[in-house]
């Protein structure tokens, strides 16, 4: 009985145990299947999770371009081309007198999917490029350098990466990684028990965790799920997932995933993931171009990107790099001599992180794209975004703002408040925005004044008042207007009595004089005569979106605008009366190379070429004789530019907006808390504008004069017509409609009969020539 009872009990016990084991087995199987599903899904998903890459405008090279040999070298260095004695691989150049041979990298453009690598010979003198030939000596009419990568749009949690294909990876890299991080990578099944035992033993001896026994696959899993806890449960989970990945994917796939996944540095709130981005971040060049010492350095960083930060702890990272090189030589991956030579090399890390240089510009790009794309498309879909940024112009704009504000700091009224500034530069005819500076801390991704500082435009409104006046047909540049006290009764019953800046009045003056000297009273008079509705309408036509309230004070620029809005308004003046939407993005290309969206050039006529020319010609006099004349000392002697200063009441904001033939620049200077600066547009913003224009290597403003206009010379004070031959420094050239009747100034050249005879004489001389 007892026996059979215990037998029965035993049977029940074993059956129960079996059921539990089976149950656990089923549960474990489900758990493993679950983990397997999780990790493979993550692995597959990651292949396509890549932030949009943002590129600057590519530099076009062609015979006749004003680019000296030195300039070309500078541009190549910006793209991290190396100067060598013998051209070997793409990304290098050599200098042979006036000839520069370039081993051009393969590149992708907005309108060209793959331009293969090629060798070029560029002959360039001080005047510019003379010829460009290919390796067969054939003349090339036009070639472009690859566009500079200026940043990427990464998600809020901050993971940024550039994904590379196995073909873009130097063969040394996987070998070095396996050697240093996971010796049995190519033979184990995802985990390496001997490595774990070795690590355990070493950690026990050291009394702390010194070495991880993780395989590359385990590290990959760890990176996917970002769990910082060091628990046994997590370790087991990781091990199961690693075995699962190893079973599903080839070693090469896993290695490539590792190369694209692993964390390699931190840049503010941007986490640098993958060797593709790390190569750009630390060396400013593509991964495929790294040499042995550079590969070894990145492998050294893997172990602890903060501890081995090459910019902060160069000594630490150097010691570990040399250890990596030794290990590679020991295992026979590289020759002993090569490893020794590599050890002698400096770290070669760039001073600043490449990319994300231009936060204000990237901000504008992001805002443009958010109108059409979801955040996720931008941060995950691997888009390529081609912009109009010109790194050279951007550098000039940053430099001009930084230097001149530092100079103004010494004269400022409020030592405790920080004077701030913003700059926008465009190519007027194409509407390309080529540079944006949003703060004097140019690399700081904060308040973007170029887009968000909405301030009174002051006298920048005046050209639009005179343009509207010319459109009525009742005014021209020589029309004499009265600069005299004005009293205007406002709707609320009060009386508005504006004043000139100098608090003086100037009596009768020609319009060109009133604009050039920025006379308030004369302008208010003209503005009231023309009518506020018409002037508001003009501003709307030129692209102002928020139309101001029609109060008389708008004539003195109480209208609040951002620097970018001013750029849009003045672009129409610089572009002969054609409005062109300002654009930063040229094209968006999908990860598969399909053009998703283009922002094509559009022009809309918003004023006749005639009135715009008349106004532009007066703005030339602002620079010659008026409030912009101080720029002459800084600008090249024969450069013709046109512009206008602006100062809001009590010196809160000061502006300068102006253009040459090829560039428009708008500069704002002021305090964030809206304190008076004590500067006028001419003393605050103008020096920045002038320095910027001088640095751009720009061309003269020389729009063709419409055939229905004629150039004539008038006396700057009285507006009376004078003969050009009259060598009086007080005369200025203006453009007026042909047939406009202008009274002659008595005296010099006053006799019109005489001038007719002179003209006839000239004509006869021409004929006889």
């Amino acid at each position: 009985m007892a026996r059979s009872g215990s037998k029965k009990f035993r049977r029940i016990f074993w059956l129960g145990a079996l059921a539990v084991v089976l149950g656990l087995g089923v549960a474990a199987t489900f758990y493993i299947l679950y983990l397997d599903h999780l990790v493979t899904r993550q692995f597959e998903g990651r292949r396509w999770t890549l932030p949009a890459q943002v590129y600057a405008a590519p530099l076009e090279l062609y015979a006749g371009l004003a680019l000296s040999g030195g300039d070309l070298e500078h541009e190549l260095q910006r793209l991290q081309y190396r100067r060598v004695e013998r051209l070997e691989h793409p990304g290098s150049y050599r200098v042979q007198g006036s000839r520069i041979d370039v081993a051009l990298r393969a590149a992708r453009f907005a309108d060209e999917e793959s331009r293969p690598a090629a060798i070029l010979s560029v002959v360039s003198t001080d005047k510019g490029i003379e010829s460009i030939r290919d390796s067969d000596g054939k003349d090339l009419p036009i070639v472009r350098l690859e566009p500079l990568l200026i940043g990427s749009i990464f998600p809020i949690h901050g993971e940024d990466r550039i994904v590379v294909t196995p073909q873009e990876v130097p063969t040394l890299l996987p070998q070095a990684l396996a050697t240093v991080e996971d010796r049995k990578f190519y033979s184990h099944h995802g985990v390496d028990p001997t490595a774990i035992m070795r690590a355990l033993w070493q950690n026990m001896r050291a009394g702390q965790i010194e070495q991880g026994g993780s395989t590359l696959t385990q590290q990959l899993v760890k990176s996917y799920f970002l769990d910082p806890r060091r628990t046994l449960g997590r370790k087991v989970r990781e091990a199961i997932m690693a075995i699962s990945l190893d079973a599903h994917f080839s070693k090469q796939d896993l290695m490539n995933a590792y190369i694209n996944e692993i964390f390699l540095g931190q840049d503010g709130d941007r986490a640098i993931h993958g060797f593709g981005l790390a190569s750009q971040f630390y060396f400013g060049k593509p991964l495929s171009e790294l040499d042995l010492s550079e590969v070894a350095l990145l492998v050294a960083v893997v172990r602890g990107p903060t501890y081995y930060d090459p910019r902060r702890h160069p000594d630490r990272v150097r010691a570990r790099r040399d250890m990596v090189l030794k290990l590679m030589a020991e295992r026979g991956i590289v020759k002993q001599a090569d490893a020794l030579a590599a050890e002698k090399k400096p770290l070669g890390v760039t001073a600043r992180a490449a990319g994300a240089y231009f936060p204000a510009y990237l901000d504008f790009v992001r805002r443009t794209l958010r109108r059409d794309y979801h955040e996720q498309d931008l941060t995950e879909a691997g888009l390529r975004i081609y912009t109009s940024l010109e790194p050279r112009a951007q550098e000039q704009a940053e430099k001009a703002l930084e230097r001149e504000l530092a100079r103004l700091d010494k004269q400022k009224k409020y030592p405790d408040s920080k004077l701030e500034g913003a700059v926008v530069v465009t190519s007027p005819q194409s509407g390309d925005v080529i540079a944006i500076v949003g703060s004097r801390n140019v690399g700081y991704d904060g308040f973007n004044r170029a887009l968000d500082a909405r301030r009174a435009m002051g006298s920048l409104v005046k050209p639009f008042i005179y343009l509207t006046a010319f459109e009525t047909g009742r005014y021209n540049a020589a029309t004499v207007v009265q600069d005299a006290p004005v009293a205007i009764k406002l709707a609320n019953g009060t009386v508005w009595r504006p004043e000139n800046f100098t608090r003086q009045t100037y009596g009768p003056v020609p319009v060109v004089h009133a604009l050039a000297e920025s006379l308030n009273l004369a302008t208010v008079g003209v503005g009231m005569d023309v009518g506020l509705p018409k002037i508001t309408e003009t501003l709307g036509r030129f692209g102002l979106e928020h139309l101001p309230a029609q109060v008389p004070a708008m004539l003195l620029g109480t209208i609040e605008v951002t620097p970018m809005e001013v750029a849009q308004l003045y672009n129409g003046l610089a572009n002969g009366g054609f409005r062109t939407p300002l654009r930063a993005v040229r094209a968006v290309i999908s990860a598969e190379g399909k053009a998703l969206k283009a922002f094509p050039l559009e022009v809309t006529p918003v004023a006749t070429p005639e009135v715009v020319f008349e106004v532009d010609r007066m703005m030339e006099q602002v620079m010659e004789k008026g409030t912009g004349r101080a720029a002459k000392a800084v600008l090249p002697a024969n450069l013709v530019v046109a512009g206008k200063s602006g100062t809001s009441s009590d010196y809160h904001d000061n502006w300068f907006a102006g253009f040459s033939g090829s560039h428009l620049a708008v500069v704002w200077v002021g305090y964030d808390d809206n304190l008076p600066t004590g500067f006028t547009g001419s003393s605050g913003a103008l020096p920045i504008w002038a320095r910027l224009m001088a640095g751009l290597g720009t061309t003269s403003w020389e729009a063709p004069m419409p055939e229905s206009l004629a150039e004539t010379w008038i006396d700057y004070s009285s507006g009376l017509r004078v003969d050009k031959s009259c060598s009086d420094p007080n005369t200025v050239p203006i453009a007026v409609p042909v047939g406009t009747e202008l009274p002659m100034k008595p005296g010099c050249g006053g006799n019109s009969l005489q001038s007719i005879v002179e003209r006839a004489g000239e004509w006869i001389r021409d004929l006889l020539h």
């Binding site: 036009i142 729009a703 020539h769």
Partner: protein, 188 residues
């Protein structure tokens, strides 16, 4: 300014014709907006009208009309080797029906020579092919403003404008534009 540097050319016989042409053209604005196209009424210098500060009449003196400037010899816009290569490429792209890439190629050319009316005309023609007559018209007018002094380029601009008007059924305006193109063609 260009007329300042007017070199002596073989302009004798054409001179009067040029003046007449220009005089007729001076009246017609290329622009449809705003309605008060700038003309130059006599006495523009002493306007009258309501306002708080009247423009002042100039001190009495003989008022003489500003004469038309002597005409510069006609110029002729050309393409540089670089922009020529890009225009060729754009033609090939357009031929294959790839209008957007062709336009992008022409924009590359325009960044190099933004003041060359021939490139604006090329881009306007692509816009016509893309069935965007509004932009074709605008590009034609942009080209026209830049083409001052080059009757050939002016004529081409007017032809582009004419075509863009015809597409939109504005046949009378199209005919006028064509007439202007014709007159200019004989001038060169």
């Amino acid at each position: 300014m260009m007329f300042k540097a007017a070199p002596a050319g073989k302009k004798g016989p054409y001179f009067v014709v040029l003046l007449l042409m220009a005089a007729t053209l001076a009246g017609c604005s290329v622009f449809q907006h705003p309605p008060e196209a700038p003309s130059s009424p006599p006495g523009a210098n002493s306007p009258s009208g309501p306002g708080t500060a009247q423009p002042q009449p100039a001190p009495p003196s003989e008022a003489t009309p500003v004469p038309e400037p002597p005409k510069a010899p006609p110029k002729q816009f050309k393409l540089s080797p670089a922009t020529h290569a890009l225009v060729q490429q754009a033609h090939n792209q357009a031929h294959a029906g790839a209008f957007a890439p062709a336009a992008a190629t022409l924009e590359r050319a325009l960044r190099i020579e933004p003041e060359n009316p021939l490139l604006w005309i090329e881009l306007g023609q692509i816009r016509l092919s893309e069935n965007n007559p509004g932009q074709a018209d605008a590009m034609g007018r942009k080209a026209l403003a830049l083409a001052t002094g080059d009757p050939q380029a002016q004529a081409s601009s007017w032809r582009l404008i004419a075509e863009s008007l015809r597409v939109r059924g504005r046949n009378q305006e199209a005919a006028d534009a064509d007439k202007k193109a014709g007159a200019l063609s004989t001038r060169s």
